[in-house]
Structures are given as structure tokens and as C-alpha cells.
């Protein structure tokens, strides 16, 4: 059918414009499918991993070993398992945590190599093995004993291998997890016992009470508060959010671009449309013809995009599995997402283009045959401008802007979108950096933290005494927090109020992230329950501290002991500037600030690649959008450009007058992008951190704003370069042979 030929010929004539629009469809489909399907696959894999490997519901340790674990299991229908762990230092800066080969809870999966067979074998976490170049079959020495690396493994208890359950920075250079047979740890005296538990019923409180009856729980961490287990969920949420929002944005922009392309096409073809009518073509056939332009772009674009998305999903998931310690992942095509990815562009494009075509076809055929009411009207605003006094260039540009306002405005929106993408990358990084600087440099003024496995009394030999315990909010059992008791003269932790004054520890201080979540201001009280002892009491908050890491309350140590019913003068934690010589068996945990800092640097390293990738993607999207819009502007102004050539204008002069002012719209789009990015990034980060116990404040460094600005401006100049040829190609014949304007 000849209409088909016409369709392909038109597309071939305007291939740059159609190709750019097509590319946007491809990008959005690819992103949609890769991110949503990867997210869904990760959720599935994670659930399977939790299920099959029996992830713990909570872990705790007690003052004395449990006397009758079997009885507790029967009574509360729980699975309970005693496990052992021991941190072995490989060198000055590296600790490897050996954990016993569990039978019921937190079973490991082998990633590479074989399961543990003998006492001389060891299984390492993937990241640690890689960081220390330990291959399967190699030998390593720990505490004088030689082990053979049997393989690498993943365990649900250490999906994100953090030293502490409340940490948030992994660092495979400094810390790793390994599994050995329990007998090895039993032989080594200072190994530390803890229990993991899986519940079947909602009887956590009763279970804890029963344990507390004859014993004392020193530490209890629910799965939900264990960053090793839950951090990954925030990232998956982030990935899915990206997959759901980003492509929609691109599609909306593409929709507008395609509408403009079609609108122009039909305007040019008024006569042909009228003629087709006269030849006896039906309205439906003509509508079908013009819809085909959008449909072809949508179908081929989403097809290519979905295929690319499928290919992209695998490296995306692999890098996820690598960053977190997950076993080899199954990938499902996820048909619902596959279908949505394929159909979404159609769903977006067809209704609007249909309305557009219908509108044109409402014009009577006779009018169409005459070329429609093609005459360009001078609008009221244009008439208002009596610009006689103005310099010609300014006048000319003002008139052009007034005429092309919808195009230029849309250009600004396109740039806004690209800027949003670009700035989001930077904001994410800067916010993380801020978070860490804020806490490590301004809050923590100690090098080492030692946590004892029993209450200590008296004065520590070195360092500053403190105590802390996990709590939940009485009215909201899901909101956990840590209360730390500090001596009033404490210098290891320093906090500032929101207005920047230093806070003393003779009062009750809540940090900003918790205050935001609970909507608490100074003077408010809340009831909290100690998760170890079950004790409930009320605290009144005196100050809010400008700190975002963890959900924390600080109070005087004396008050802490009093409220919790602990002996006066007792403590569980020591902060110190130097390394202290405390026997391993007395310690429940120790951590080092420098580990965390280098961990942070390790952690944000991939973020840098991510930002470069995002910047490139943003620049490409910006270039495509700007290219197509400027190309359209040149096309729409081709008569004027042609005439100016005849009148003796040089191409660069024409460019300055007809196109150059778009630079200001690019800048406008970028500037508008800044506040929009702030609002949307804080929404994104909030949804990401909803399941983590941190709040990330939204910050950006002005240098990065500047860099983003130059990326966008650079993209604009690339576009200008690309469009130069088009302007050059406009022939003077167009103005000379034009019979009507």
C-alpha cells in the first residue's frame, strides 16, 4: 500500500529526528526493564535465600550460657541455635571473623569451591577472598593453624559483611567473615558464644522474658535492626524506584517530542491529507497512517529497549550480588515487567497522537486541500511589544522567543530533566560524604570502642566509660533506638545542637534522624522499653543534636544506670584514643574508627563510577533532547533562515539570531533543576532509607553543581555542533521559490 512507502520515506528524510526520538524510547524501555526486573529478581532471590538458608529472626547473647535451650525451643516453638564466633586479626588492620558452621539457622551457600569437609578447611566471604587475593585451594594461617580455602560462601547473616550490626560501612580490606567447623572454635578459648533464633509465632516478648528469668540478656538484635541483613532492602527499593520513575520521565519527554514531530508533519501534509480524502480514503485509514509513525517508534523502540534491558539486567544483578554477599542469582524474565516494558511506550504515545490526528482531521477537506489556514497569526503578546528603540538583535530575538516559546520552554524542561538525573548522582554522593564526615570527624572523637560482654564496675584503666543498650519505643515497637549513657565530661563523643552550639552530656539528647522520625522536639517525652531487660521508663528530651547516623539518645551515665536498674558506676563500653590491652574473652565487640573511614572510602568508590555513568547518561539524554528540539526549531524557521542567507547573513550570524538564545533556556532549565532535584532526591533517599536505621540529609557541594552545569552546557554546545550542518544545508532556493508564507 502506497501509504506505507510514504511513511518510510518520511522517516528516512527526517532520520536524525526520528532516530533521536527512537533512541529515547529505547533508553526508557531498557532502563525500565533492567531496573524493575533486576529489583524484582533481587527481591525473589533474597527471599529464597532467607527461606532456604533459614535466616535468623534475632540474635542475642546472655550473661551465662542458656541452661536448657531444647526446653525453650519446645515451649515457644522456636528454632534456637548456639553459635560461636571469634575475630582473628590477620594483621594490624585486618580482622577475619570466624563463625561456626551452623546447622539450623543462617546456613551458608557455597559460591565457589566445595562445602566444608574437614577441620582444616575454611570458607571465606566472597568480598574478603577477593580483597585479599585468596583463591580456592590456597592455604592461610590463622592463630598458628593452617587452613585450606575450600571455597567462598554467602550466609544470610552477613549479606552485607559489617563488623557491627549497627554499622553501615563494609570494608572487605579490613573485615571479613569465614566459616570453620565448630570444633576449631571450641578449642580456641576466647571464642564468643551467641544465640540465633527463628520464631514461628508472635511470641518474641514472652521468649525474652523467659530467658531473662534466670539469666540476663546483654545484647539482642532483631533482624529488622540488623544492618547486615536489611541494608540490601533499601538498595533494592532504590533500584525499583529508579526503574519506575526515570523511564516515565523520559517517556513523557519523548511523547511531547513525537507529538511535535507529528504535528509538524501533518501541517506540512495538509494538502496531501485533503487529497487523500478526495481520493476516497477513509478517516480511519488516514488516522491509522499517522498513528503508525508513533506506533513504529514505540514498537521497535520498546522491543530493542527491552532486549537491551534484559542484557543490562544481568551485569546490574551481578554487581549487586558482588557488592552484597549473595550466592549466584537466578534470573527470571519477569513477564509482567517484560510486557509492561514492551507496551508502555505504546500506551503513552497512542492516545495522545490519536487525539492529535483527530484534531487535524476535524478540519474540512476543502480547507486542507488549500493548505489549511496556514497563515501565521501574530499573537497578542507579540503585538504588545513596541520595540522600536531596542537594538535590532534584541528585538529580533525577543520576537523569536515569543514565537517559539513552547519549543524553548520545552527545551528548558528537557534540560531540567537531564540536570535532575545528573545532580541526583552528585547529591547522592555528597549526601553520603556529608553523613560520614559529620559523624566520623565531628561526632566521634575516639579511635577505639570496646564493648564488654559483662557489666563492668568502677573506673576503667584507660579511656572513657559509657554504656549503651537497645530500646524500642513503647507505642511503636518497630522503632528501635540505642540509648547511650555518657559521663558529663565525656569528650569521646561530641554533639552540636541544630544551631551549632556544643551540647553537654548532663542532659538528654536525641539525634536529628530519630527526632525526625518520631517528630520530637526539645521538651517532649517518650516511653521506651529496654530490649535486654524489658524495663520500661519515660525520658524527656532536652536537646536535639545535629547528627544523622543511627537512631540515638544520649543521657548521663548515672541516669542511664538508674533508669535501667543497673548498679551505679557500672558501664559496658570504653572509648579510647589508644589501643587497649583487654583480653578477648571479656569483649563482646571492638571497633576502630579508621576502619570505618577507610570502609567508607571503599564503599563510595563504586559510587564514583555510578556518578560518571549517570553523568554520561544524563549528557546523552540532554544531547538527544536538545538536538531534536533545536533541529525542529531550525526546520520551523527554515524559511526565515533561507531568507536571511539571501539577504547576506553569514551562517554564524543566523545561528546567533535564530538559535543562540536557547542557551538561556538551557541555563534556565538547569537552574530550575537544582531545587527540583533537592525535593525529589530527598523523597528517593527517604524511601531508600525507610528500612535502614539511618537518615541521609540531602547535601550538595557547589563544585559539583558547577561541574553539572558545565556538563549540561557542554552537551548544549555538542548539540549546536551537530545542528550546524542542518542550518548550513538550508538552501536559499527555499526563500526564493516560496510563493506564499
Amino acid at each position: 500500500m502506497p501509504l506505507w512507502k510514504k511513511l518510510f520515506r518520511t522517516i528516512a528524510e527526517k532520520k536524525a529526528q526520528y532516530f533521536s526520538a527512537w533512541l529515547l524510547v529505547v533508553i526508557s524501555s531498557a532502563l525500565f526493564y533492567a531496573f524493575t526486573a533486576a529489583g524484582a529478581n533481587l527481591v525473589d532471590n533474597l527471599e529464597t535465600f532467607y527461606q532456604e538458608n533459614n535466616v535468623e529472626d534475632a540474635r542475642f547473647f546472655v550473661q551465662h550460657p542458656l541452661k536448657s535451650p531444647q526446653q525453650l525451643e519446645d515451649r515457644f516453638h522456636v528454632q534456637l541455635e548456639k553459635q560461636m564466633s571469634l575475630d582473628v586479626s590477620m594483621d594490624e588492620n585486618t580482622d577475619l571473623r570466624l563463625i561456626s558452621n551452623s546447622e539450623k539457622i543462617n546456613q551458608y551457600s557455597v559460591i565457589e569451591g566445595e562445602k566444608l569437609q574437614t577441620k582444616d578447611e575454611i570458607l571465606l566471604d566472597q568480598g574478603f577472598a577477593k580483597a585479599h587475593a585468596l583463591a580456592v585451594g590456597e592455604e592461610m594461617e590463622l592463630k598458628g593453624k593452617t587452613f585450606t580455602v575450600a571455597g567462598t560462601m554467602a550466609t544470610p547473616a552477613y549479606i552485607y559483611p559489617l563488623k557491627s550490626t549497627s554499622g553501615f560501612l563494609k570494608n572487605p580490606d579490613a573485615f571479613g567473615v569465614a566459616i570453620v567447623q565448630e570444633d576449631i572454635l571450641k578449642k580456641w578459648e576466647n571464642a564468643h558464644d551467641y544465640y540465633t533464633v527463628r520464631f514461628q509465632e508472635d511470641n518474641r516478648g514472652a521468649f525474652k522474658e523467659a530467658v531473662t528469668e534466670q539469666n540476663q540478656i546483654l545484647n539482642w538484635v532483631d533482624k529488622e535492626d540488623n544492618n547486615r541483613i536489611t541494608f540490601i532492602k533499601g538498595d533494592i527499593t532504590g533500584i525499583k524506584k529508579m526503574g519506575e520513575t526515570l523511564p516515565i520521565g523520559i517517556l513523557l519527554i519523548t511523547l511531547v517530542i513525537i507529538s511535535i514531530l507529528l504535528w509538524r508533519l501533518m501541517k506540512k501534509e495538509y494538502v496531501q491529507i485533503g487529497t487523500l480524502y478526495a481520493l476516497g480514503y477513509k478517516k480511519a485509514e488516514i488516522i491509522r497512517h499517522y498513528l503508525s509513525y508513533a506506533a513504529i517508534l514505540a514498537v521497535t523502540g520498546s522491543l530493542a529497549g527491552t532486549v537491551i534491558g534484559w542484557l543490562l539486567m544481568h551485569p546490574l544483578m551481578a554487581s549487586f550480588a558482588h557488592f552484597y554477599n549473595l550466592p549466584v542469582l537466578d534470573t527470571n524474565p519477569y513477564f509482567p515487567y517484560l510486557i509492561v516494558s514492551f507496551l508502555l511506550p505504546m500506551v503513552f504515545f497512542l492516545p495522545l497522537t490519536y487525539l492529535l490526528v483527530r484534531r487535524v482531521l476535524k478540519i474540512p477537506p476543502v480547507t486542507l486541500m488549500k493548505g489549511g489556514t496556514l497563515k501565521t497569526k501574530v499573537n497578542r503578546i507579540e503585538r504588545l511589544f513596541k520595540l522600536r528603540k531596542l537594538d535590532f538583535k534584541k528585538k529580533f530575538i525577543t520576537r523569536d522567543i515569543l514565537r517559539n516559546l513552547p519549543r524553548s520552554g520545552f527545551l528548558a524542561i528537557g534540560v531540567l530533566f537531564a540536570s535532575l538525573l545528573l545532580l541526583m548522582g552528585f547529591i547522592t554522593k555528597d549526601s553520603m560524604t556529608y553523613l560520614v564526615d559529620e559523624n566520623f570527624e565531628n561526632v566521634y572523637h575516639y579511635q577505639y570502642e570496646y564493648t564488654f560482654n559483662q557489666l563492668q564496675t568502677g573506673e576503667p584503666e584507660h579511656g572513657q566509660a559509657a554504656a549503651s543498650a537497645p530500646f524500642v519505643v513503647q507505642d511503636d515497637e518497630d522503632q528501635s533506638l540505642t540509648i547511650t549513657g555518657l559521663k558529663p565530661g565525656n569528650t569521646a563523643i561530641q554533639l552540636e545542637s541544630m544551631t551549632g552550639e556544643e551540647l553537654d552530656f548532663d542532659s538528654v539528647i536525641m539525634n536529628k534522624s530519630l527526632a525526625e522520625k518520631l517528630e520530637i522536639s526539645p521538651g517532649d517525652s517518650l516511653e521506651v522499653t529496654n530490649q535486654l531487660s524489658g524495663e520500661t521508663f519515660s525520658v524527656t528530651v532536652d536537646h536535639i543534636a545535629n547528627s544523622y547516623l543511627g537512631d540515638m539518645i544520649y543521657m548521663p551515665l548515672k541516669k542511664f544506670n538508674q533508669l535501667n536498674g543497673y548498679p551505679e558506676n557500672s558501664y559496658t563500653t570504653v572509648y579510647s584514643d589508644q589501643k587497649l590491652d583487654i583480653p578477648q574473652e571479656k569483649l563482646a565487640a571492638k571497633s576502630e574508627i579508621s576502619d570505618m573511614v577507610s570502609g567508607f572510602e571503599k564503599m563510595i568508590e563504586p559510587l564514583n563510577y555510578f556518578i560518571v555513568a549517570i553523568a554520561l547518561a544524563a549528557a546523552v539524554i540532554a544531547i538527544i533532547i536538545m538536538y531534536i528540539l533545536i533541529s525542529l526549531m531550525i526546520e520551523e524557521n527554515s524559511y526565515k533562515i533561507s531568507l536571511m542567507k539571501v539577504l547576506g547573513y553569514h551562517n554564524r550570524e543566523i545561528h546567533k539570531l535564530v538559535i543562540g538564545y536557547n542557551r538561556w533556556f538551557v541555563i534556565l532549565g538547569f537552574l530550575l533543576g537544582i531545587p527540583v532535584t533537592f525535593v525529589s532526591t530527598s523523597a528517593l533517599l527517604n524511601s531508600v532509607t525507610a528500612e535502614m536505621n539511618i537518615t541521609i540529609p540531602v547535601k550538595i557541594d557547589w563544585i559539583n553543581i558547577l561541574i553539572s552545569f558545565f556538563v549540561i552546557l557542554g552537551a548544549y554546545y555538542v548539540t549546536v555542533l551537530l545542528n550546524k550542518r542542518q542550518l548550513k544545508k538550508i538552501s536559499m532556493q527555499e526563500a526564493i521559490n516560496r510563493s506564499t508564507e
Binding site: T376, R403, K640, M644, V646, H650, E741
Partner: protein, 234 residues
């Protein structure tokens, strides 16, 4: 009188659908400064092709076109632009104004890029558009639009005013007014004028009449007694 334009041995062919088509073949002509020359000829005889080549908006295959001593066929793009900007003024059949610029601004479009343009207000007055400076083209009649287009061409005092059927879309009385305006401009600024037309009547005002046929100069006749346009018949 000195020679302004000298066309020698110009050939131009178009490649249309396989076989080349000779639009101009071996065209020779020479025009004095200040002359008004009318170019006649049937449709398709090559008039516009010749005028466009002279105006530097189209290339020829071979031959030379000397304008004020320089061979414009040897010019590169940039020189051609400067040539059009400094020496040439165009007037088209359909006026070719920019619709969203006012009368004043349409004229400014060329004055803006010329070294010593005429005063626009005076010129608007001179072409008979007093009080219409702030109107847009759509608010003017065809004749008035053609006046704007003439003013636009004249404002930079071109040596050559090239008019391709300037009255083709106008009724006969308006046509006369326009031709009379062109004549005035020719007198006032000593502009050399080339007018393409189908209208035999216009030849009366010409100093010389050149007739083209099938891309060749068929005749080149001097009119010893040109008549003022307002007195022309027809």
C-alpha cells in the same frame, strides 16, 4: 557611464531525472551603472536562473559574471555572502517578508548588517508607508508589502537591485505604483535595476530590454525613449 555588470559565456544545466537540462547556454550581456534593464522571456526560459546567478544565490557551470570588476563565480561562500550583503538587493514576487517582524523591523533586517544604511524612517516615508512602521506584514495589502520589500532591498544602497516579477501578484494600478517606486529609487540612488517580467508593458520604462529563449539571449535592445511608469499604458 561605466560598466557595472558583465556576463560572459555563462552556462548552467540542471540534472533532472537522468538527462541534463540546459537552463542557460552561453549567455552574454553587459549592463551599465544606473540602467534599468527588463528581462523578458517565456516561462522556463531561464530568467530566474540568470538573475539568481547574478545575485550570488546560485552557481553556474562555467562562464564569468563580473560585478564592479570582480568575478563573482570565483567567490567562495563567505565572499559570496559579503557580496550579497554589500552589493545586492532582492525583490521577490511574493514579497518574502518575515511575518512576525514589523515593517520597521523587516527593513532593519538588512540595515542591521550594512555599513552605512539609509535612515529607515525617511525611507518608510519615501516608499509611501508613513505611519505603518509598526504594522505587521499581515496588516498590509500586497502592494504595501511589496513597498516594504523594496525598502528592505534599498536600505543598504545596493549597486544592483534584482527584481523577480515584482508585480506578478499585483493588479495593474498597484503594479504601476510599484514600478514607479522602483524607478524613483533608481533615480535617487543611482541603483542599477534588473526586472524580470512576463508583462510586455513594463518594457516601456526600461533603458534596455533583454529577451531570453531556451536559456539563450534572443535579443538585447536599447530603448531610446523610456517612459515614466506612471505614464505607461496597459
Amino acid at each position: 557611464m561605466s560598466k557595472l555588470l558583465e556576463v560572459t559565456g555563462v552556462n548552467k544545466s540542471y540534472q533532472s531525472g537522468g538527462s541534463p537540462f540546459q537552463a542557460l547556454s552561453d549567455v552574454h550581456l553587459s549592463i551599465e551603472r544606473g540602467e534599468i534593464v527588463v528581462i523578458l522571456g517565456p516561462s522556463g526560459s531561464g530568467k530566474s536562473t540568470l538573475l539568481n546567478a547574478i545575485g550570488g544565490v546560485d552557481q553556474v557551470d562555467d562562464g564569468e559574471i563580473h560585478v564592479a570588476g570582480e568575478d563573482i563565480t570565483r567567490f567562495h561562500d563567505n565572499n559570496l555572502v559579503d557580496y550579497r550583503r554589500e552589493k545586492v538587493g532582492f525583490v521577490f514576487q511574493m514579497y518574502n517578508l518575515i511575518p512576525n517582524l514589523t515593517v520597521y523591523e523587516n527593513i532593519e533586517l538588512t540595515s542591521h548588517i550594512s555599513k552605512s544604511p539609509l535612515d529607515i524612517d525617511e525611507l518608510i516615508h519615501a516608499v509611501g508607508l508613513k505611519g505603518m512602521a509598526d504594522r505587521f506584514p499581515r496588516e498590509l495589502s500586497g502592494g504595501q508589502q511589496q513597498r516594504v520589500s523594496i525598502a528592505r532591498a534599498i536600505v543598504r544602497k545596493p549597486e544592483l537591485l534584482l527584481c523577480d516579477e515584482p508585480t506578478g501578484a499585483l493588479d495593474s494600478s498597484t503594479s504601476k505604483e510599484i514600478l514607479s517606486l522602483i524607478h524613483q529609487m533608481n533615480q535617487k540612488y543611482n541603483t542599477t535595476v534588473l526586472i524580470i517580467t512576463h508583462d510586455q508593458g513594463i518594457t516601456e520604462m526600461a533603458d534596455r530590454i533583454i529577451t531570453l529563449k531556451d536559456g539563450r539571449v534572443e535579443s538585447d535592445v536599447k530603448n531610446e525613449q523610456p517612459v515614466l511608469p506612471e505614464r505607461m499604458e496597459g
